[in-house]
Subunit: 279 residues, 2 copies
């Protein structure tokens, strides 16, 4: 199960290539829909927010919606579809969730059943799509703010950890919060709180900084997901709620049917990162 | 000299009594002007910003103004008067800096020469008044935000430290930044960054958090000014730039003539604390 969760993790690295391949989000989505783009989406349409995808049967959707509402930091909902409707009009012009992501994963009873580039054959009238904000948007803001992110500089995945912070349960959905960690100086940590507090739709302000043991992390050098990253003298670890939390929560309950994006293959929305900022 | 600086420190404790004695700032100032109030000003007109005072001869004023402009975190300027003009119209209706503070200190060559309740007899045509924001305003915001401030709960003065953070010099004004310290949990530290970042006119976001040695504080239990306060397990020290910095800088250069408020006896302005908030 843990391997499945790990395989399902989400956000692309802010530092990957592809940068600026498409002028805007709609062009990128149309190329993806035509099958002309089968790679990760990092940097593909700069400035536009990308989203994590979870598609669940309607029977589970209300509980999952309540779960997201109760846990906005790990589960920042950008959009929820009508049952059976593949369109997500609030995220952009003509967004069809069945075709507009380059790679999907089909899950049956918690096991990976298929990886596909189009889910029209798997579509059902009871499916509800959830699109959640991605830390890529806030990492972009941090880098624009002059804060070096080591995992980005080193081309690594961000380090992620299970914590002893419990999410607020809803129906069958429950479990610990997963956090991502970025090491930085205290002065940068203070700036990073200010920068990310302005983007609650992409995880918002950190949930912790300093001593990892206080949130149940026994060994900072052994992340549960992603890659370990060095913490230099004079730096402190800063922890943000992570979008892996809802994925881990969904996978842990092994729903009979579920579709997610493949890791790094995100939905590119027409929402600008700058529009997600409160100020 | 250090004793003089210590005697000149400024802000009242946010927790002191007097709370709500006057309905608004103007009423409080008029009572002070009539000599009907000879005590500290903490809580006197709730919701209104109070300010630290430094009055310098014009020959030094330009350099001090540049010093404040270059060091906005320790020296947040609320107002500067015209030379020789005792009125501060931007801070409220009919604010006369010669009479509207309950107690002043007259300094000659860095030595305390007199403590008076009215400076009309000391007024000169070349004097320039500087009013600087006071951490009382942001402490109020922190307490409203549900963050306990231990020094306030315990009726102590806040702990203050000289650091190895150098201010940006201007003319004869130079010296290390003084910081105030408030211990809190990491979660509260994150909230406190957000709350105080919104009030740059009263010191703004912290300048440091965590390891005191990183900013040159050898012993957190021995503050240079104010009272030591316990840091409980699971808490970290959070450091803000402190209004004692400009006072220490002015005192250290021992100007031939200078007037300040007496510690805790502040100027009550018509500016609402809420108006100092960016958002």
């Amino acid at each position: 199960m843990s391997a499945n969760i790990s395989a399902a993790i989400s956000c692309p690295s802010a530092g990957a290539s592809n940068y600026g391949t498409f002028a805007n989000a709609r062009e990128a989505r149309l190329a993806i829909r035509r099958g002309e783009w089968d790679s990760h989406t990092s940097g593909l349409a700069p400035g536009y927010a990308q989203g994590n995808l979870a598609i669940l049967p309607e029977a589970l959707a209300t509980d999952f919606l309540r779960f997201c509402q109760r846990n906005p930091k790990p589960c920042p909902l950008l959009a929820v579809s009508e049952p059976g409707d593949p369109m997500l009009p609030t995220l952009g012009e003509d967004v069809d969730i069945r075709t507009d992501i380059p790679r999907y994963r089909i899950w049956k009873h918690g096991e990976l059943a298929a990886e596909v580039s189009d889910i029209r054959d798997f579509w059902r009238d009871d499916l509800v799509s959830f699109v959640l904000g991605c830390s890529f948007s806030f990492e972009h803001a941090l880098i624009e703010g002059g804060i070096e992110l080591r995992h980005v500089s080193q081309g690594k995945n961000v380090a992620m950890y299970r914590t002893n912070i419990q999410t607020v349960p809803a129906g069958p959905f429950h479990g610990p919060m997963v956090v991502s960690m970025r090491p930085m100086t205290a002065a940068n940590a203070i700036r990073a709180v200010q920068i990310t507090a302005r983007v609650p739709a992409v995880h918002g302000a950190p949930v912790h900084l300093g001593d990892p043991a206080q949130i149940g992390i026994a060994d900072i050098n052994r992340p549960d997901f992603g890659d370990a990253v060095e913490i230099l003298p004079g730096e402190m670890p800063v922890f943000w709620a992570c979008g892996v939390t809802p994925q881990a929560v969904v996978m842990a309950m092994a729903p009979e049917f579920c579709i997610t994006h493949a890791p790094g293959y995100m939905l590119i929305t027409d929402v600008r990162n700058s529009d997600l900022s409160l100020a």
